[in-house]
Each structure stands twice: as structure tokens, then as C-alpha cells.
């Protein structure tokens, strides 16, 4: 122990002050004794003072240990101020203070990383950028559409005119960052280690962050909570307490008799010396044992009884209390941490009078509902016994327990009457005393959830002042006995609430017995408190929190700091510094502390919903708060990612060629060859369209994307060029050809999805094939073949996009391989199909073997030179959302009426106040729109059997459109409709635990449709003030069962969402439900779509 010395001036007084704060009994006599001891220098060493002083202040074993700990803390504290310093910024920094070495190394890591990054980012300025121009010749066939001629190809017949051979100019982009850095050996020397380090950091980011959190929390110590110690006295007036004390101290007569000497001598003298002995009945001081039910550590009722027992003991009554939670067989004595059995207590305190306080039900056997076997111990041990219950009404439990225990209501008057009860057995047998009076207790259904009018209903069970007291208690996240009593004075400074009646009516509530007001009730109660009084309560609360600091470096300190920051913010939400402080504190405390406070959670949610990028800043801050190296890794990774995104390597990118009469704008440049693909014959190449006009794209690719009107000023209407077979484009897994494999799904109007066609009695997962598209690859079966037959092989993903994997294709006939191609790409063309021409008649066995996916074999017979089609759907291969370059949505005018009307009715969508209709639709981000389309499609599909209305039909307006869910106001009849649908099996009821209601609403219930993938969950919220208000939260889950659970866990940990693009693909692949928009991964097509949108037409 090093630090302060007791013999320094004022040190002992400081220690005494700390002891008083810790509730040690430090009176004048104790202070004098301590000063005498210190002045005499009774300890040889500094650390001996602890042992020398403890005997003066400790009254029991726990206090002795507490004194040792407090003394060590006090001596070890470096602060000159005597009391434990308040935490001014964060609990973490207070904890991490000793870890100076770790901080230094973190700073050094930061410094090195920053220098390296600066060097890396500044490299282009150090090394002059190079600029190279490369001219290549790309053989193409056909004629190029003249830019001067407005291209107006028919949607049904995309232009197939071959492009003339023309020079293609490409230019290496003026050396962008990463390219410059890696263009010299020195750059590599810098780039390689930094990249490796960043890569390693990214890989280790998660474990490092977890380790950092664990390390930080490991340094925190209990206690986990720090009850506010305010120092309340009994809430009962002194007169009543005095009466109780006077009555309860009354000495009963004992069994023993003792010789009364004086009386004997007097009697002997009176009888002339004849000995006459007189004995007196011994009177003994009564001993009381209170066995109190304590349902929770913040059980106010038990706390009150405990306080009364302490007051009795302090005033000379031999009274002590022991507590039990649910089972009275296991007890805990006041001041002792060790549990005791009822039998032990009975053996140790059998001469006492036993006063049981609690619910009668706790003395019943839970199985037989009769007095438990353990009540025999009570009956055999304590002749003088009684059960005092807070229950107002005498029920079955009380009537059953009365066989063993007389039941009385708990009140001060009843306490004062205890001696009479015990000394008059007749009274004890008469247990028809009415139980507690006053207002009845609110029934469970009133306490369960606040709803329309129910706060008013609750109000009816209290006097106005007590209800206000109740509302004041809701401001703090926990109900603590001393705080509750202190708040009585804040609400009613005249002390009118400090009476037994008010207190009992409050603490009999189950909330006060379990130490917590239910989450849904807190906002309602807080809102019910007048603003001025609310602020006064918050101010008082802040003062109490400040004057009761939890020890630094403890879990409780963090929670306390959070509470203080939150109360300060709520006092004046407009103060930016208060909000900043609260945000900072939220980042530093464990999530559980934040989630424990409903009001705080709502505040954070509101911030997130107000943010344009919900929750992003908080999430980023939390990530960055993980630790020094991780911060560096985060920043570096972001920088590198941006750099790489900007540079995209040193690959040549097209140099925009100025529009000329011979070259259309947006012409696709050189695309590298794919050697494995057999060169197409000239004739075949002539069949392949080299360009796709906007109309063709709209018609071919996203079947639902409406045909836009061509911009009048834009003459060349070619938006993308599909390269010829000889020079196929860079593989794109896009695209957009769900039309190739899916039953055409018209978007306008969105039709109900028909069940999949039945094949052999079972639903076929593969939709019916559509007509062949002309843009497929054509490969001759054999160069010498003159046969007419052909095989058309289509390979699609589960979502009916062309299969992006490299695929081997083998055709066997009579056990011999007659055709073999390796690494074919099915996604080179829009329909994802290849055609093998010149196939002679016969029976063939075709094996399609995509990389990474299991192979599939089919047998097909070619007869009479006919074309035979083979469709292969590779499950599990879908488009990764991050590869999506753009999304093609239908224009607003083409939206179904059901969607458009809701958009027009939505004027208060979060983040878009006052915006509705077309403006709202255009203001939504791609993700939000995608989510909206998904949910609209799905909700339109879910039809309730009773009314044959879809779930979407009940939506009246949107209130919040997020990337994974949509909040909307609905007709109240929807809830009944959904509930009724649980019977028919359309939906089932599911927990709504993870769904947070919007402000002013509470969760009513949650339902989910029964699909294994792509199920719609509808969570219904009811208005707190108005039952007629209803809001639903609709979202779609792509998993079910265990995978759904893991998905939720994963998303909770990574704070991610169900991506709407994934949802779209799931809906298409599993339910043949097309939400009506297309994902574009082909950069050129994406560019065209984006430009089209920017130009005012999608």
C-alpha cells in the first residue's frame, strides 16, 4: 500500500469522511478514538493502520472486510481530495489509466501508420504520373449505326447490324494512386508491407476488437450496480413509529421465577420471623425475528420492512431480519452473505417471536397448494408467530396458510399490535381481520401494457399525488428504494407523500416489488409528468447520482456515467454538447447498459432514424473505439479501398472517343478474347447483335423495366454494345436476363404469381422455358458436320440469371465422348444459353459441369434435325449484392396503382418529411426502393382468406422505408385479419422481441408467413394514446429455422441487415415472385441505366 499516510495533516479526517460516505457509524466517540490512536502512532507501518483502526469502526464481519477494502482504496488513491473523485469523462479511461504502456504502444502504432499512409497517399505527387496511349484494332462486322440517324429499332427486333472495323483508342488512365505506387520498386517496397499489414489487420480486426473489449472489461471490477445512497429515514411519521417502538418493547413475562429477596424479607418480618419466600416472575426483553420475502434486490416492500427492523434494533429492540426470495426454506440474514436454511434459523432463534412478512403463497407447496412441509418447522419452533402480508384482499392462499400462520395485513398499526397478538392467543386465532385497506391494486391486465386509455385506467388506482410520484419514479431506469423515497420529497416538497398510506399504495405494485417498471410503461409515465416537474426530478436525480459516485474502474461507474449523461441530455435535448457527451458515453459502455434503459434506447433509435445514414456514425464510432491499431486499420482500409476503387489497377479503360459520324457514342471498346471459345463462323457472328439499343435492353433484359421515351436530344440511342463472338465482352454475370429462364413477370401491373408448373405431380423449381433468344453463343458440333439438329443448353443460377461460373460441357454418344469443351461461359450472352449446331440424330448424354457446383447430366434424343433444349439450374449460385452496379427500377408512372397510391398518401416518411408521390419515389435510395418493391410484391401476394384482401391492401401510408423493412400505417382491421389467418395457417404468431416500436407505439404482436425462405413478417404496433392507430413493420426474411436464428445472431453481431437484393433473388428463385426491378452487374449497362436515370428517364 502506497500513497497517502494517515499521519499527514487532515488525512484522518478525510478517511473519516470517506467512512461516513460508506455508511460506517462514525460518531464523535469513534473519531476521538481514531485520533487518539493515530496521535499515539500505534502502528509500526502504514499498512498496520488498517488493522488498528478497523476495530473502532466495524460492527460486524462484513463491515470489517469493507473497512479493509475501503482503506486500501483510500490510501491507494492519488487524488488530493478526500473523497473518491468523480468520473468526469469515461469509466474506461479511468480503468485504463494504469495501462500506460499499452497506450504508448498504441500511440506509436498510430504514428507509424499515419506516416506510412501519408507517404503512400502522397506517392503520386512524388512520382510523376505516366500517360500512355494505346491504339488497337478490333475486328468487327456489320455496319455501325450512323449517329446522325436516330436509331429507332423495333423493340422486338434488336439491331443486329455489324459494326465496321474501326480503330479503338484506349488510354491508360493518368496514373491513379495505386497504379503509381506500384509502378516503381520503391513504391512496391512501401506498398507491399503496408498492404500486408492492412490485410492482416483486416483479418484480425474482429478478434483484436473482441480482445480489446474483453481486455477493457476485464479491468472493470464489480460492483455491477451502485444503489443510490441517500440516507432516508422511515417514511412514517415519528408518532406512529414511537407507538410501535413503545408497544413492541413491552416485556413479556418469562417462564422462570426468581426469589424476590426484598419481598421475602418483608414478609418474613411481617410473619414474626417465620420464613416466607416470595418469587417474582421473570420478565424478559422480547426478541423479534422478521422473515421477509424479498422478491428482488430492489423490492421496496422488503426494503421498507428492513428499514423498520433496523430502526427497531437501533432503539433497543432485539429485532433482526432475514430475507428469502421465493422459497422460505433458504434465507439470508441481514449483514451476512451466507445463506441459511430455515431449519438452522429456527434452531438459532427459536426463543424469538417470528414475524413473517410476504405473500401467503410463498408458504404453500407449489404442487399441492397446501401449506408446504416446511411450515411444520415454523409451527414446531415458534409459538408466537404471525404472517403480515402486503396483499389487500384475503384470497385462497391466505385462507390456506391461516391453518399454520395467523394472517394479518402489514401496517404500522399492526406492528404495534403484535405484542397483544402474541400475548393473547385468542386474538391470534381470530384471523378474520380484514387485510389492507385503501385503493385496490391495479389488475394484471392494466399493468401489462399501456394502451389506449390504460394510463388513465392506471391513474384511477392512485391518488393524483401518488400517481405523480409513480411517474417520477419512471424517469430513472431502475426502481431503488432510497431514490423512490427521495423522489417523494421532490414531487411533494411539503412532505405530504411521506405517509404510510401513500407509500403502501405505491410499493404494493408488482413493479416496486420486482424493482422495475416495464419498458412499455416508462415512456407513458414519463410523458404523463408535467414538464416542469419532470425537469425537477431529473435535476434531483442528477444531484443524487453526482453525490453517490460508484468507485472508479467498476462496471457500476460506467452505468452511472451513462445515466448522468442521459439525464443531462434529456434536461435539454437541444444542447449539442450534452448529446455529444451522451453519444460518447454510449460508445464506451457495454451495450447491455444502453439496452437496459428503454428511454435511452428510444433516444438512440430516434437519432438513427433522423440520420440520413441510419446508425452509421454510431456504428463507425463503435468500430473505431475498438483500439488504436484497429482504428488505424480501419482508416487505412478505407483509404486503400478508395484508392483501389479510384484506380482500378492499371488496366486500360476506354478513352471516350469524340462523337464522329462514323462512331456512335457509348461504344464499347476492346474486350479481351476468350481463347477457349471456338471462334464463331462469320455467318453465326452475323446473327449476333453487336449493339443493344436502349429499347432492346429494356425489352430483353429487364422485362419489367418499362420502355422509356428516348431523349429527344440524344441521337445515338445505343446504350451498350455487346461484343461479337470473336471478341466477347468481359464476362459479366449480370444480367439481366431473368427473362431467359423465368416465366415472364410483368411488372405493370404486377400479377399474382402463378404456381410453378407441375411436372410429374411435383412443383417444378424451374420455370417454363421461354423462346430462344438470338443472342446465344453458337458452337458447331463438328467442323465437318452437316446435320441439321442442334442442342440448346441453358445454364442458369437459382435466380434465373445466367450462370457465371466457368463450365465444362461434355456430350457422349454410346459411351464415347463426341463433344467436349472446357471453361465455357454461359453468362456471355443475355439468355445464358449456348447452341451446338450440326448435331446428328441420335441419343446423347450431356454433362454440364460448372466450377464449384455439382454437375448435372441429361439424356436427349435428337431426331429429324430438330433442336432440343436442355435447361440446367444450378442452385446456390446467385448474384452477390456487392457486385450489383445499378438497379433498374420501373418509372414512377409505370408503378402499380396500389403502390403509387400509397406513395402519394405518404407525406411523413422518416427522412423525407413533406415529400410524397413521385418526389418521394425518386428521393429513395436504390436499397430503400428495392426493399419497398420486395415488400410490396410479397405483401400483395399474401392474401387473407377471410376477406380475400392482400396484406398490402390494408396499408394506408408509408411512415418509414428502410433498406430491410417498411413501416406503414394500416387499417386497424388488419390486426384482426392477420390474427384470424393464424387459424387457417397462412401466418403464425412469432416473437416480436427484436422489433422496436416507433415512438408513441407499443408492440401488439408479430406474425410471419410460413415460407421457408422469403417469408413476410408483419409486426403490429398499436398507438400508446390511441388504440385506433396502428402501424406495422413489414420485413422479409430469407431464412428459416436454425439458419434464421444464426442469421439474426450474425446480423446482430455485425449490425447488418437482410440485403434487399438477396431478398429479390430469393423471392424469384423460391416463389417465382418478381418484385419488378433488375439488378445490373454489367458496368456498361449499369452506366447506361444510371445515366438514363440522371437524365430524367430511367
Amino acid at each position: 500500500v502506497a500513497g497517502r499516510s494517515l499521519q499527514s495533516p487532515g488525512a484522518l479526517d478525510a478517511l473519516l469522511a470517506s467512512l461516513r460516505e460508506e455508511r460506517f457509524a462514525v460518531g464523535t466517540s469513534e473519531a476521538v478514538k481514531a485520533h487518539r490512536l493515530v496521535a499515539a502512532g500505534r502502528a509500526r507501518r502504514d499498512d498496520e493502520w488498517k488493522f488498528a483502526l478497523a476495530p473502532i469502526f466495524a460492527r460486524d464481519p462484513d463491515q470489517q472486510q469493507q473497512f479493509y477494502e475501503l482503506y486500501d482504496r483510500w490510501v491507494g488513491a492519488q487524488a488530493p481530495h478526500h473523497s473518491i473523485p468523480l468520473l468526469t469523462h469515461s469509466p474506461v479511461s479511468a480503468v485504463a489509466a494504469p495501462d500506460q504502456v499499452g497506450r504508448r504502444s498504441a500511440r506509436i502504432a498510430w504514428l507509424i501508420g499515419a506516416v506510412m499512409l501519408v507517404a503512400l497517399l502522397g506517392w503520386p505527387y512524388l512520382v510523376p504520373p505516366r500517360l500512355t496511349v494505346r491504339v488497337t484494332t478490333q475486328p468487327t462486322t456489320g455496319a455501325t449505326p450512323q449517329p446522325s440517324q436516330p436509331s429507332q429499332p423495333s423493340p422486338a427486333t434488336p439491331p443486329r447490324a455489324a459494326l465496321p472495323e474501326r480503330p479503338q483508342s484506349t488510354i491508360d488512365q493518368p496514373c491513379v494512386w495505386a497504379g503509381c505506387v506500384t509502378s516503381t520498386p520503391w513504391g512496391w517496397l512501401l506498398f507491399a508491407p503496408v498492404s500486408a499489414w492492412i490485410l492482416a489487420s483486416l483479418v484480425l480486426a474482429g478478434p483484436l476488437r473482441r480482445a480489446a473489449i474483453y481486455r477493457r472489461e476485464r479491468q472493470l471490477t464489480p460492483p455491477y450496480e451502485w444503489p443510490l445512497r441517500i440516507g432516508v429515514t422511515s417514511p412514517r411519521s415519528d408518532d406512529a413509529l414511537a407507538t410501535v417502538l413503545r408497544m413492541i418493547r413491552r416485556r413479556p413475562t418469562g417462564d422462570a421465577r426468581r426469589l424476590d429477596v426484598a419481598r421475602s424479607i418483608r414478609a418474613t418480618v411481617r410473619d414474626a420471623g417465620c420464613p416466607v419466600l416470595h418469587f417474582e416472575q421473570e420478565r424478559r426483553a422480547p426478541e423479534y425475528l422478521f422473515i421477509v420475502q424479498q422478491r428482488h434486490r430492489h423490492d421496496h416492500f422488503a426494503a421498507w420492512v428492513g428499514l423498520l427492523v433496523r430502526i427497531l434494533a437501533r432503539n433497543g429492540v432485539d429485532a433482526r431480519a432475514c430475507f428469502y426470495e421465493d422459497d422460505p426454506r433458504l434465507l439470508r440474514l441481514t449483514g451476512s452473505r451466507r445463506p441459511m436454511r430455515l431449519r438452522h434459523v429456527a434452531e438459532a432463534w427459536h426463543p424469538s417471536r417470528a414475524v413473517f412478512v410476504g405473500d401467503a403463497a410463498s408458504w404453500l407447496d407449489p404442487f399441492t397448494a397446501r401449506p408446504g412441509e416446511w411450515t411444520r418447522i415454523v409451527a414446531d419452533t415458534w409459538v408466537e408467530r404471525v404472517l403480515l402480508t402486503p396483499t389487500r384482499d384475503r384470497g385462497a392462499a391466505e385462507n390456506r396458510v391461516r391453518r399454520v400462520l395467523p394472517v394479518r395485513p402489514f401496517s404500522m398499526a399492526q406492528l404495534a399490535a403484535l405484542p397483544d397478538l402474541f400475548e393473547t392467543p385468542l386474538l391470534a386465532r381470530r384471523d378474520d381481520t380484514p387485510l389492507g385497506g385503501g385503493l385496490p391494486l391495479p389488475p394484471d391486465h392494466v399493468l401489462e401494457h399501456p394502451s389506449n386509455g390504460r394510463d388513465v385506467l392506471l391513474r384511477a388506482f392512485f391518488t393524483p399525488a401518488v400517481f405523480e410520484w409513480l411517474c417520477a419514479c419512471a424517469i430513472y431506469s431502475e426502481l431503488e428504494w432510497e431514490l423512490t423515497i427521495a423522489l417523494a420529497d421532490v414531487v411533494a416538497p411539503d412532505g405530504s407523500l411521506r405517509n404510510e398510506r401513500s407509500l403502501l399504495s405505491l410499493i404494493r405494485l408488482p413493479w416496486f416489488r420486482y424493482g422495475r417498471i416495464p419498458d412499455p410503461w416508462r415512456p407513458v409515465l414519463v410523458a404523463a409528468l408535467p414538464a416542469e416537474r419532470r425537469d425537477r426530478v431529473r435535476q434531483a436525480l442528477l444531484e443524487r447520482l453526482q453525490s453517490n459516485p460508484a468507485p472508479p474502474g467498476t462496471f457500476a461507474r460506467g452505468k452511472q456515467t451513462l445515466d448522468m449523461a442521459a439525464q443531462r441530455y434529456w434536461l435539454d435535448p437541444k444542447r449539442l454538447d450534452a448529446r455529444a457527451r451522451l453519444e460518447r458515453t454510449i460508445r464506451l459502455v457495454p451495450d447491455a447498459d444502453v439496452r437496459a434503459d428503454r428511454l435511452l434506447t428510444e433516444t438512440v433509435d430516434r437519432w438513427a432514424s433522423e440520420s440520413a445514414w441510419p446508425d452509421a456514425s454510431l456504428r463507425w464510432s463503435r468500430f473505431v473505439a475498438g483500439g488504436g491499431p484497429i482504428k488505424l486499420a480501419s482508416v487505412a482500409a478505407l483509404t486503400i479501398a478508395i484508392g483501389l476503387a479510384l484506380s482500378r489497377g492499371t488496366e486500360p479503360i476506354p478513352l471516350p472517343v469524340p462523337p464522329s459520324p462514323a462512331t456512335p457514342a457509348f461504344t464499347q471498346p476492346v474486350i479481351p478474347d476468350e481463347p477457349q471459345v471456338a471462334p464463331s463462323p462469320a455467318g453465326a457472328a452475323a446473327e449476333i447483335p453487336s449493339t443493344v439499343t436502349r429499347e432492346a435492353f429494356v425489352e430483353q433484359v429487364p422485362s419489367s423495366v418499362p420502355t422509356p421515351a428516348p431523349p429527344p436530344a440524344q441521337t445515338p440511342d445505343v446504350i451498350a454494345t455487346v461484343p461479337p463472338a470473336a471478341a466477347p465482352p468481359e464476362p459479366v454475370q449480370d444480367q439481366p436476363s431473368p427473362a431467359a429462364g423465368v416465366t415472364p413477370l410483368e411488372f405493370t401491373p404486377l400479377p399474382p404469381v402463378e404456381p410453378a408448373p407441375k411436372v410429374g405431380g411435383a412443383a417444378s423449381p424451374v420455370p417454363a422455358p421461354v423462346d430462344l433468344e438470338p443472342s446465344r453463343q453458337v458452337i458447331p458440333f463438328a467442323s465437318s458436320s452437316t446435320a441439321k439438329g442442334s442442342l440448346i443448353i441453358t445454364a442458369l443460377t437459382g435466380t434465373h440469371y445466367p450462370l457465371p461460373n466457368l463450365t465444362d460441357l461434355t456430350i457422349e454418344r454410346q459411351g464415347k465422348t463426341v463433344f467436349e469443351r472446357k471453361n465455357i461461359r454461359f453468362d456471355r450472352y443475355l439468355d445464358g444459353a449456348i447452341e451446338i449446331t450440326g448435331v446428328p440424330d441420335g441419343e446423347y448424354r450431356v454433362e454440364v459441369d460448372p466450377a464449384g457446383v455439382s454437375s448435372q447430366r441429361s439424356t436427349v434424343v435428337v431426331r429429324d434435325g430438330a433442336a432440343k433444349r436442355i435447361d440446367v439450374v444450378a442452385r446456390g449460385v446467385s448474384i452477390d449484392a456487392k457486385d450489383v452496379r445499378a438497379v433498374a427500377f420501373p418509372p414512377y408512372d409505370a408503378l402499380p396503382d396500389a403502390l403509387r397510391s400509397r406513395l402519394e398518401a405518404s407525406t411523413a416518411v422518416t427522412g423525407f418529411p413533406g415529400t410524397s408521390g413521385r418526389r418521394l419515389f425518386e428521393a429513395l435510395s436504390d436499397l430503400q426502393r428495392a426493399a419497398l418493391f420486395n415488400i410490396f410484391a410479397k405483401a400483395s401476394q399474401v392474401r387473407f382468406p377471410a376477406s380475400d384482401r392482400s396484406a398490402w391492401d390494408y396499408v394506408t401510408a408509408l411512415t418509414d422505408v428502410r433498406s430491410d423493412r417498411v413501416f406503414a400505417t394500416t387499417d386497424v382491421a388488419m390486426h384482426d385479419e392477420i390474427r384470424a389467418s393464424t387459424v387457417s395457417g397462412l401466418v403464425s404468431e412469432v416473437p416480436a422481441a427484436l422489433h422496436q416500436p416507433p415512438l408513441g407505439f407499443s408492440v401488439a404482436n408479430s406474425y410471419r408467413t410460413r415460407e421457408k425462405a422469403g417469408s413476410l413478417q408483419i409486426t403490429v404496433f398499436r398507438g400508446l394514446d390511441n388504440d385506433a392507430q396502428m402501424t406495422v413493420d413489414m420485413d422479409i426474411d430469407i431464412n428459416s429455422g436454425a439458419s434464421r436464428v444464426f442469421g439474426i445472431i450474425s446480423r446482430t453481431l455485425t449490425r447488418s441487415i437482410v440485403h434487399p437484393y438477396d431478398v429479390q433473388q430469393v423471392l424469384i428463385s423460391t416463389q417465382l415472385l418478381d418484385p419488378g426491378y433488375r439488378l445490373i452487374t454489367n458496368p456498361e449497362l449499369a452506366d447506361a441505366v444510371t445515366k438514363g436515370r440522371g437524365g430524367g428517364a430511367p
Binding site: 457509524a25 460518531g27 466517540s29 469513534e30 478514538k33 487518539r36 490512536l37 499515539a40 500505534r42 502502528a43 498496520e48 488493522f51 488498528a52 483502526l53 478497523a54 476495530p55 473502532i56 466495524a58 460492527r59 460486524d60 464481519p61 470489517q64 422462570a256 426469589l259 429477596v261 421475602s264 424479607i265 418474613t268 420471623g273 420464613p275 424478559r284 426483553a285 426478541e287 434494533a313 437501533r314 433497543g316 432485539d318 433482526r320 451466507r338 445463506p339 436454511r341 431449519r343 438452522h344 438459532a348 432463534w349
Partner: protein, 335 residues
């Protein structure tokens, strides 16, 4: 007296007063008090306040008083509290019936020395007074014959929590001022000489809470349960010599013989029982010492202890006094 209590077990002089006065007294030479306890004793001595020592049975509370008296070379007066004890019993006892009989039947002169007998605290207060003070107070000489006057002494009031609630409340004033009156005799109040105020040690098993007012006038110390090292030290100092050769434990409390190994295993077994919350009455240190003596006598081996053979189970009656506890540990067949 400026000497401090160290708790080393070494007496201050070659012929301690205690031993001289009570040759039958078992010198607590093996008693070792840790520095915390010693500090508490010294605080009590310095402040002239009673020391209230609490702790589980068998943790050496009573022995402490012996040790203090032994080390500081002071006489020890012991008062064993009973459930019928009253405050007056702490100072003296008056034989009313004998007095009555003498006065009535034998017509003797009322020599109060026949009917008054000083009790522990009374003896300590009286012995702190000088002959002159006692004479002036009127105390008859026969009552003083066994007392060394003008000397300090140690008073042990054992198991004060056994007394009725009135007992500690009634002795508040007397404990504070160390003064009492003999109501039956026409004596002046007897007040302890300030220079020779007795050292009062009270013990409690914490069976009952003591009044706050009483606690305020005391210095408090709780003796925790001894650790394994502490128990072995107790065994070494208390039993090693008593059990004779070969020795059990060396200075470092390591077993030096097979018997020593048995003792170490037994102590561990005892600790397991002592810390077993399921037992109704858990054994105390004193019972452990007796049990180890029994084990040695029965020649129970280390293996017996480890394997809980019948040889060991048969001896557990020394430790466990409740039939349910004996059943719980297998010493008795389950009912």
C-alpha cells in the same frame, strides 16, 4: 503498562502470573495471533475499551484471552455467560439464601464476606484498586485473599450472545466506567483504578445481534476461518507435542511422518466439511483437534482418509453432531 500484545505465544516473563496463580492452567504457548488480531487487541488496550471478538466456534476466541494474559503476564478472570445471566452476575454473586439462613437460624453476625463472591469483572476491578481504597470502601479483607491488588488483569466474558438481550444493555454503564456497587452490603461503590484498568475481552458466536449502544462501547474484531496453513499451524502447535513421537509436522508445516500425512489429509477433509453449506452443524476447529487425536488413536491412515473408508467414517461422530449430517456424509446409512 506499555507492552504490546504480539501474539507470538511467548510469555513476558519466565514465571507468568497466570501460571503462578493457576498452576492447572494450560499455557497457551502454541497460540498464534495474526497481525490483524494483535492490532485489534492493542487498539483495545490503548483505548481502554472492551474487545469484542466474534467468529465461528473453534476459531480461538476464548484462547485469545488466555494468550493475551499469558503474553502480558496478567491474571485472567473468566466469566461464562449463561442464558440466565444478569448484569450483576458479572461483578459478584450474593448468596441470599445462606444469608437468610445464617440470620434466621444460626443467628450469626452478618459477615458479608460469607455471602458475597466477586465474579470475573468484579475481581478485576477490585484487584486494580489499592488496599487503602478497598478498606475505605468497606470491602472485608477475606474477600481479597486471592487477589493481587493494584494490578492489571484480563477479563474474559465468554459467549456473551448466550445471555438475554438485557445483559449487554445492562452492563453498558459498568463496562464503560468499570464501576459497580454491591447493593446487599453497605459498601462504597468500587471503581477500577485508572492505572490498572482491566483488559476486557468478550466473545460472541454471532448467534444474536448485540445492541448498537453496546457495540459502540467496544472494539470489534472478527476472526475468520483459518486457512489450511493456519489449521496446520494450530495442529502443529497444539497436537504435535501432545501426541508424542514421531513428530507430525515440521516448522514449515510439512508432514514428517506417515502420521503427519494423515493429519494433513484429515485437515483437508475437515476443511471440506467445514465449508459445506449443506451441513446443518458444521464442525469447528476445536472438534477438528479432537478428531485428529481420535484418528491418531485409531491409527487411521492417509489412504483411509482419502478413500473415506469405514475406518474414517466411524470417527466422524467426533466432528459431526447431527444425524442428518452424518447421513449426508455417509457415516450413517440413509434413512
Amino acid at each position: 503498562m506499555n507492552r504490546e500484545y504480539v501474539g507470538s505465544g511467548r510469555p513476558a516473563s519466565a514465571h507468568p502470573t497466570l501460571y503462578a496463580l493457576h498452576p492447572e492452567f494450560d499455557p497457551p504457548g502454541g497460540y498464534r495471533a495474526d497481525s490483524r488480531l494483535a492490532a485489534a487487541v492493542n487498539t483495545a488496550i490503548f483505548l481502554d475499551q472492551p474487545l469484542l471478538v466474534t467468529g465461528d466456534p473453534g476459531t480461538g476466541k476464548t484462547e485469545l484471552a488466555n494468550s493475551v494474559a499469558w503474553e502480558l503476564d496478567l491474571p485472567l478472570h473468566v466469566f461464562h455467560t449463561k442464558s440466565s445471566s444478569s448484569a450483576g452476575d458479572l461483578f459478584y454473586r450474593y448468596d441470599a439464601l445462606l444469608h437468610f439462613n445464617d440470620a434466621h437460624v444460626q443467628h450469626r453476625d452478618p459477615d458479608m464476606s460469607r455471602y458475597i463472591r466477586f465474579e470475573a469483572l468484579g475481581r478485576a476491578i477490585v484487584s486494580s484498586m489499592s488496599q487503602r481504597q478497598l478498606t475505605e470502601a468497606g470491602v472485608p479483607a477475606p474477600l481479597l485473599k486471592d487477589l493481587a491488588l493494584e494490578s492489571r488483569s484480563v477479563v474474559l466474558i465468554d459467549e456473551i450472545d448466550k445471555a438475554p438481550r438485557d445483559f449487554p444493555n445492562d452492563i453498558l454503564h459498568e463496562i464503560d466506567r468499570l464501576r459497580f456497587e454491591v447493593r446487599e452490603a453497605d459498601w462504597k461503590p468500587l471503581v477500577a483504578n485508572q492505572a490498572f484498568r482491566p483488559i476486557v475481552i468478550l466473545t460472541s458466536n454471532l448467534e444474536k445481534a448485540l445492541p448498537d449502544a453496546f457495540l459502540r462501547r467496544c472494539v470489534f474484531y472478527y476472526i475468520g476461518r483459518p486457512t489450511l496453513e493456519g489449521l496446520l499451524e494450530i495442529v502443529r502447535t497444539r497436537l504435535d507435542a501432545a501426541l508424542g513421537a514421531p513428530a507430525l509436522l515440521d516448522e514449515q508445516r510439512k508432514p514428517v511422518s506417515e502420521r503427519g500425512k494423515t493429519v494433513v489429509a484429515a485437515v483437508k477433509e475437515f476443511m471440506a466439511l467445514r465449508d459445506n453449506d449443506q451441513l446443518i452443524k458444521r464442525p469447528s476447529t476445536a472438534e477438528m483437534l479432537k478428531w485428529i487425536r481420535v484418528l491418531q488413536k485409531q491409527q487411521v491412515s492417509e489412504q483411509d482418509v482419502a478413500a473415506r473408508t469405514p475406518a474414517l467414517l466411524d470417527t466422524l461422530h467426533v466432528l459431526l453432531k447431527n444425524i442428518d449430517d452424518l447421513r449426508a456424509v455417509g457415516a450413517l446409512p440413509a434413512s
